[in-house]
Structures are given as structure tokens and as C-alpha cells.
Amino acid sequence: MISIDTLTVRFGGIRALDGLDAQLTAPICGLIGPNGAGKTTLVNVLSGFVRPYSGAVALNGVALSGLSPRRRVGLGLRRTFQQELVVDELTAVENVQAIADHVSATRQSGRREVTVALDFVGLGERRDVLGRQLNLYERRMVEIAKTLIGRPKVILMDEPGAGLNESETDRLRRLLAEIPQAFDTQLVLIDHDAELIASVCIDTLVLDFGKRLALGPTRAVLDDPAVRRAYLGRE
């Protein structure tokens, strides 16, 4: 569970997040909002890369404020980045093993977790292929596999479906829906694809100008007139 308590983040004169209050409790939560709404900033605050101006965040009741990004990884927080960051010179399995090196309990359990994660995302057969030879979908899958290592408690995914075509998005959707059960973890999903959000997220938080516009069951939130006006209406 993620608790956000009157969180404000300022970049110069901009308030990227503005007194945000929210409790994310569902196993899969959507995080949506127009460009510049503060979605990535929220992920950066949770993962410890951006220091808030005021307010606090907590993970399963543990206050995160003041902890280094690495400590948060140790507490089970995982994230992906808006752009994919697969290393070209490492194979798929090495890219994932590079995470296990630092977050798995033992070397053995690490290797097991890497195999499980690669099989889960469907890259079992492609494990020894160099990063540069993987296509965009496979690279996105490597990025997801990386977050599944070391018993994650919360995974924050920043637009994991960006750039994928329809059938790939379909596969992604089925995969994401299985993650909380299969890995006993909570998933927070940022995406601009309302359909993807609607089909996998139980609850959804909508941001606009760093403020909470709506939070609740995804269908209800997406049907909320205020959300339609601020967000969907602009599309």
C-alpha cells in the first residue's frame, strides 16, 4: 500500500505536485493525467530521486522520507523509467541478472528469480540474445522482468506500453494483470492508453496540474465528468 500525505513538489515556480493526498490500496492501480500532470514526478518522489518540498510518502506503513533510493529498493520498491534502458552490450539474461546481483538474497535464489522472471515475460527462449538485437517489445519485457526480481512489494511502471502496437499491448495487458498474483506484489501503472488502464487497473488515481482530480474504481473514475473534461476531453 502506498500512502501519499499532502505532497508538494516544486521545480522553481512550478508546482509539479500540489498538496496531493492519496492512498493506493488496490493490487493494480492506474495513474493517469495529461502531459505534465506530475505522474513521473510522483514516481520520482516515491523512488527517492526527487525530494518533496513538503509532505510525506509511505510504503506499507513505512515512512520513506529521507531514505536513499537504494534503501527503498531494499524495502521492495521497484520502478521502470519512461524510456527503456536495456543495456545493448548485455544479453537479456545479463540485463536481468544485473539486478539480481544487488537485490536477491543469495546467488542461487537470484539465478532462479532471473529464470522465473524471463519465463514469465516470455523471453525464456531469447535469454542469451544481446540487448541490441532485441526488438522494442522484447526490450520492454526485459524492463518488466527487471522489476520482478528480489521479492518486490510495490512496482511502479512508467508507461511500459509506450510505442507498442495493438497486439503487443494486448499481450502486455494479460501479463500485467497476472503480476500481483504471481509475484505477490502491488503494481502502479502509468499509461496514456485509457483502454489499457481500464482493462487492468482496479483503482485509478487521476492527476491534473499536480492535484488529485479523482481516485477510486477505474470505471467510475473514467466516467467522472470532471475527469472527462480535464483529461479525456482533450484527446
Binding site: 530521486f49 533510493p69 552490450e89 541478472q97 544485473a98 544487488h102 537485490v103 540474445v129 541490441r132 527487471k146
Partner: protein, 348 residues
């Protein structure tokens, strides 16, 4: 990381790299180093043998320099000064304790490794040109210091100078098992082989993977739980260790060291040699190291003006800038292609 993006493009062609097993690679290393060293040991003596022994010390230094540049994109222009540091420490330890030679060498390596880590601290904040300039200034500072204090020659006190005390200069003795020039060269070749294995082992395991993440994106590495500061420092420690070992081996070769052999320009030449040979393969460091020593020695042998030596390095730099793979990378690519073709034909 703009400095090494060119390499990525060039390596796209080298597709089947992963098909070659570790054992095959290890055998290739032993075979190539063994062959080159065998030819040198069998045919050279005196001037040339001494030069090739020094060339192998250069190879060890290049291995570290290439590690820093290839794995982390860090330009260090103080690696030859670290050879001096290693030489200084090994001479100091030798004259104080007369330990077995291997310990003297290890002491030089560890000493330069610690100093290398300290000199690498600026890299936590800066990279590219700024880091290059700072490390170059460190190399100059070392030269100034060592010109004033000189290397220990068995005299009293911490600095170990003879001067006023009237003591005789004491040479560092080579180990009994490598007393002759040829035996010493073979010994240095074996250490070089170990150095290559040390670097390759790093590149292919946990540290290499951590460096790859850092090179790709430091924030991503942090979010992956990598201790970025530790792994950067570790790279400098390994590079410094290799340079320090080279310094101790130089001290063993000559019995003493001269301050004039550790100018900042030599550290620049180490970097040029690294680019010329190629920073992504052990073969690059091997060939780059031998060439940067061999060509100037050849020019001296032919009584050619030493400024031509600088022109050689200028040309080498131009070549290196044109081809980020370097000579070693090109040859590795060629060898891999031939091997894959051969294997393909053998299996039908």
C-alpha cells in the same frame, strides 16, 4: 555517454559474440599471449628484450585505462603516474623489508590501487573533458613531487635517498627464479596474462554488469540497487592496481626508477595507446601497449629524431578517432567471424 556511443554502432555487426564459449576465449588469450611472448623471448635480447618487457608493463597499464574508458566512459590521464606510484611503493617496501618479489609486486599494486581510488574521486562528480583535465593535473603533481623526492634507492629515512649519508645506492634485486633478462621477461608476460584474466573476469561478472548499468544510466543503476560510488571506486582500484603492478615490474627490470620516466605526457600516451588498440577487448590493450612502446624504440634504434615519436602518436590518435573499435577490436571481430564460419562449416 557521448564518448562511447560510436562504439555501440560499430559493434552491431559483431552479432555472434555470445556463441563462443568462455573456455575458447580463455584458450585464445593464452595462445595469443603465449605465441607473441614466445617469439620475443626466443629472438630478442638486450635492448629489444628490455623494451618488450617495458611494453608489457605498458599493456598492464592500458588494461586498466581501457577498463575505465570502456566500462564507464571515464577518461583518466594519470595512469602512467600511477605506474610511478606503484614503483615508488614497491621500492620503498623492498628496501625496508626485502620481502619475496611477489609481495613487492603486490605491494606496488595495492599502493597504486589506493592512490588510484583517491585520484578517481573527482569522477564521482565529473566526466569527459573535466575529469581528463583533473587527472592530468594529478599526473603533473605527481611528477613534480617525484622529481623533488626521487625514488627510494636504499638510503635511510622514509624517502630512502643516499645523498648526504654517503651510503651506496642499492638496486632492487630480481627474484632468483627470474634473474636473467629472458626469464624476467617471461615472468612479466605471465603477470600480464593474469592481468588480462583479472580484467576479463571483472567484465563478465557482477562488477561488469554493474558498470554496464551505470554507463547506461546512473539513475537506473541506483534504482536497480547498485552502489554506484562503490563500483566506480572499484574500477579505479582495479585500474590502479594494474598500473602499480606494472610499476613494480619496471622497478624489478631496472633495479631502480628514474623520475624523468614519469611525465604527464606518458599518461596521455597511455590513453592514446588505449584508443589505438581499442578499449573493449584485451587484444586491444595487448597490441596498443606493445605498439606504443615498440614504435618509439624502433625510432631510437634507427637514430631518428625523437620528435617523430610524437608525430607517431599524433597519427595514432587520428587513426583511433576514426575507428572506435581500434586495432584489437577489428582483429577480434575478424577472428570471431572466421571462427563462426569455421564452426558453421564443421557442423555442416
Amino acid at each position: 555517454m557521448t564518448e562511447i556511443s560510436g562504439k555501440t554502432e560499430a559493434f552491431v555487426a559483431a552479432a555472434p559474440v555470445t556463441e563462443i564459449t568462455l573456455a575458447t576465449r580463455a584458450i585464445a588469450v593464452v595462445a595469443v599471449v603465449g605465441l607473441i611472448s614466445g617469439i620475443i623471448a626466443a629472438t630478442c635480447g638486450g635492448y629489444w628484450l628490455s623494451n618488450f618487457t617495458q611494453a608489457y608493463c605498458m599493456v598492464l597499464t592500458l588494461l586498466g585505462c581501457a577498463l575505465l574508458y570502456g566500462q564507464l566512459g571515464l577518461v583518466s590521464l594519470c595512469q602512467w603516474a600511477l605506474v610511478g606510484v606503484g614503483g615508488w611503493v614497491s621500492l620503498r617496501v623492498y628496501h625496508s623489508f626485502h620481502p619475496p618479489f611477489v609481495f613487492t609486486v603486490l605491494a606496488g599494486g595495492l599502493g597504486a590501487s589506493v592512490i588510484g581510488m583517491i585520484w578517481g574521486l573527482p569522477a564521482l562528480r565529473m566526466r569527459g573533458l573535466y575529469l581528463a583535465l583533473v587527472t592530468l593535473m594529478l599526473a603533473s603533481a605527481f611528477q613534480t613531487l617525484v622529481v623533488v623526492t626521487s625514488f627510494p634507492v636504499g638510503g635511510p629515512g622514509f624517502l630512502g635517498q643516499v645523498g648526504a649519508s654517503g651510503n651506496a645506492r642499492v638496486m632492487m634485486a630480481r627474484p632468483a627464479f627470474a634473474a636473467s633478462d629472458t626469464a624476467y621477461f617471461v615472468f612479466v608476460a605471465l603477470i600480464t596474462l593474469l592481468g588480462i584474466f583479472l580484467v576479463e573476469a571483472h567484465r563478465r561478472t557482477k562488477p561488469g554488469r554493474a558498470w554496464a548499468l551505470i554507463r547506461k544510466d546512473e539513475h537506473m543503476a541506483i534504482a536497480a540497487g547498485v552502489r554506484v560510488v562503490f563500483y566506480k571506486a572499484w574500477a579505479f582500484a582495479v585500474a590502479g592496481f594494474l598500473a602499480g603492478v606494472a610499476g613494480a615490474l619496471m622497478a624489478g627490470l631496472f633495479g631502480q626508477l628514474d623520475a624523468s620516466a614519469f611525465a604527464p605526457t606518458d599518461s596521455i600516451i597511455v590513453f592514446i595507446g588505449t584508443l589505438l588498440g581499442g578499449y573493449d577487448s584485451w587484444l586491444g590493450s595487448l597490441l596498443g601497449g606493445i605498439l606504443t612502446r615498440f614504435v618509439p624504440a624502433l625510432l631510437i634504434d634507427f637514430n631518428v629524431n625523437t620528435y617523430l615519436g610524437f608525430m607517431f602518436f599524433g597519427l595514432a590518435l587520428l587513426m583511433a578517432l576514426r575507428d572506435p573499435l581500434g586495432i584489437g577490436g577489428r582483429l577480434t571481430l575478424l577472428a570471431v567471424r572466421l571462427w563462426v564460419k569455421y564452426e558453421g562449416r564443421r557442423r555442416g
